[in-house]
Symmetry: C2
């Protein structure tokens, strides 16, 4: 009999803890094969520093709340493992894996985390350890290769659509209003920004800019001016990842703005300078990826299923794979779970294809057909005294 | 038989349309006294420019959705009426009131709007018009005099508490993280900022700064540094209305930052300059006051009741009054609706009393007892295809 350890890695999502929940529930069904279920505190750091805690020792109610808790309940990390598999840090990891009799390792993360996962798998293989290593995908950016979509993206997209719709209702209630620049996450891939296209007509953005689209600042200024003249206001959605020369950057730097001003603020400054147009910048910020109030039930349930599937696959002897979602049909929405080699996932990046982009006003129908099933269904939340209940673990370190 | 006109005025809230709904429903019960129910497009501007539309001619489903729609469904305005009651603009208003046989005017708004309401009441009185004028209070700032709280504040407070809790879960999942500066609305009154104190312990802000508290920038820098050293991160909640000398303001002005950088950004710059500490600024922004996903049922139902009460009072002959909420008990929460003279409300401002403030870490128990009943209960929302349904009216202008 072996123990398992679960690692959360990279930026959190609204459903990363739901995958943990699924894995925990599945593992609990197999006490003859999996004894302790450990959480590694702060990602792979817990494994290096021997900081694991026992999930079965936690309050069961807190475990149930994982299904509605954003952030990474185990703690996460941005730490990357060294390229050289002979680096002494790996000996620390192996020492702790052996100390705790670990037979199953699960890494829940995005691109970089699948690289960590892949390295642990190579390590286990090289040293002939009896350890199965599995990847569980997540990232709100939806930029992982091999999978139809990533866990966490669907809820983030749902949050983006619904929040922009609500902001629009507020923004459009004056006869002449400010241009609203709404900044959406996604440094290289514009999936989340594109989601804004699903906002209904009576709140639909006038302009949407993805990092995959050629961005010309002159054209941007002209388009915003045109909208403002026609309507008296404007709703402009921009990806944080837009590439353009940020005016006055050097001077601004000396006041620390380079780190502070995002894309929305920089564009707002340009509009003020060129057109004398005042705009309001709304960064959807952390409430895109940490929003229990706008969870997609589809996403949440897929996250649980993928966690379960990873444990089942490991129990059947699989190692060195990541769970992927394959879409069989959009209407009705039918998927199946499969496995992909970690090295195929680890360093690839999936951007919005050209076929899904039309112009700065509309995405292609194919994009809307792709996204619509992912945002379906709401999660009924548990509240206490008007405040959502979110998991907090005691995290007593296992000796 | 007379007609009624309803005016929405000033900044919108998450429940301003619920008061309209309540007034509409009550008025509909009295067809023998109130015939048409008009909405004035963009506040008092609709009355000046003769732009009214008939709410009974709208799709009833859209009327039902008012109960979950943020923003001002009729359109709103920041326009103030002239002091001089003999100004020609009042003659335009009187002309249109007579043209449409208006016997009831409702103004739903905050301080400034109650001034508009008061002027219309004085006008009706002076010209001996058979028109009853009633005020319906709203503002997320909770700074209106005479009433226990204002409609819209409770839902905004609930949004602030729950959103900060979710952001905290995301922010605290790294071992060493950024200091998060969360900026909350409220230029003069700190009620909404103070709400952050109700965030549960496992996500409670380390520091909370209200505009009513003496703000010393040196002390602020020291407190943030201390927290960062102790914990490796920090959650700092600041009111947008904090008063301090914004460093580098002149230079920044030339790049248009004076209008752009909010309080959070300015404080973030100061922390970077003084401590070399990088912080993340999260402006809760419009999603404080336009958030159907975090409506307080208490607030929503009070908003409907107050709309109904205003119509009932007008039908009974009342004029020149605003509806106020009187709290009889907090546990259990019991209130009753009463009426206050408009001139008492119009120019007063209600700030957080000293007795409710302790220090930068905690509000007094009396504050929490005051706020807790206001955020209770959730509103079940109507969704379509994963997207919340929000009211949109055709607004065909009445000839």
């Amino acid at each position: 009999m072996k123990n398992m350890v679960y690692i959360q890695s990279g930026g959190p999502t609204s459903v990363i803890n739901s995958s943990l929940y699924g894995a925990y529930k599945e593992a609990s069904l197999h006490p003859e094969e999996i004894d302790h279920i450990y959480g590694s505190i702060n990602g792979v750091e817990g494994l290096i520093e021997d900081k694991l805690f026992d999930l079965k020792a936690e309050d069961p109610h807190q475990v149930e709340l994982l299904k509605q808790t954003p952030g990474a309940a185990l703690g996460t990390t941005r730490r990357k493992l060294p390229k050289d598999i002979d680096d002494p840090i790996y000996m620390e990891i192996v020492k702790n894996l052996k100390k705790h009799n670990i037979g199953y390792v699960f890494v829940n993360g995005g691109n970089d985390s699948m690289d960590t996962c892949n390295k642990l798998s190579i390590l286990a293989n090289k040293l002939n350890l009896d350890i199965r290593v599995m990847g569980v995908p997540k990232t709100i950016d939806n930029d992982l290769a091999c999978t139809d979509h990533t866990l966490g993206f669907s809820s983030a997209a749902k949050a983006v659509i619904n929040q922009i719709y609500a902001v629009s209702k507020d923004a459009l209630c004056y006869k002449v209003g400010k241009t609203h620049i709404i900044e959406v996450m996604g440094r290289n891939a514009g999936w989340l920004t594109a989601a804004a296209d699903l906002v209904p007509e009576d709140g639909h953005p006038d302009l949407i800019y993805l990092p995959e689209m050629k961005f010309d600042i002159e054209e941007f200024v002209k388009e915003v001016e045109k909208i403002h003249q026609e309507k008296g206001y404007g709703i402009v959605v921009v990806s944080e990842g837009l590439q353009f020369e940020r005016q006055g950057k050097n001077e601004v730097d000396s006041f620390g703005h380079a780190q502070l001003s995002g894309t929305g603020l920089a564009l707002s400054e340009i509009l003020e300078q060129r057109l004398g147009l005042k705009s309001r910048v709304v960064e959807l910020s952390i409430l895109q990826r940490a929003n229990p109030f706008l969870l997609s039930l589809t996403d949440r349930d897929e996250a649980i299923d993928v966690g379960r599937f990873a444990v089942k696959a490991a129990l059947e002897g699989t190692t060195g794979k990541m769970v992927i979602i394959k879409r069989l049909s959009s209407t009705p929405y039918v998927t199946k779970l499969e496995l992909a080699n970690l090295d195929l996932v680890a360093n690839a990046e999936q951007k919005v294809p050209e076929s899904m982009m039309l112009n700065h006003h509309r995405m292609a129908d194919s994009f809307r057909e792709y996204l619509r099933p992912l945002i379906q269904g709401n999660v009924e939340l548990s509240y206490k005294d008007g405040i959502v209940e979110l998991t907090t673990f005691k995290k007593e370190i296992v000796k």
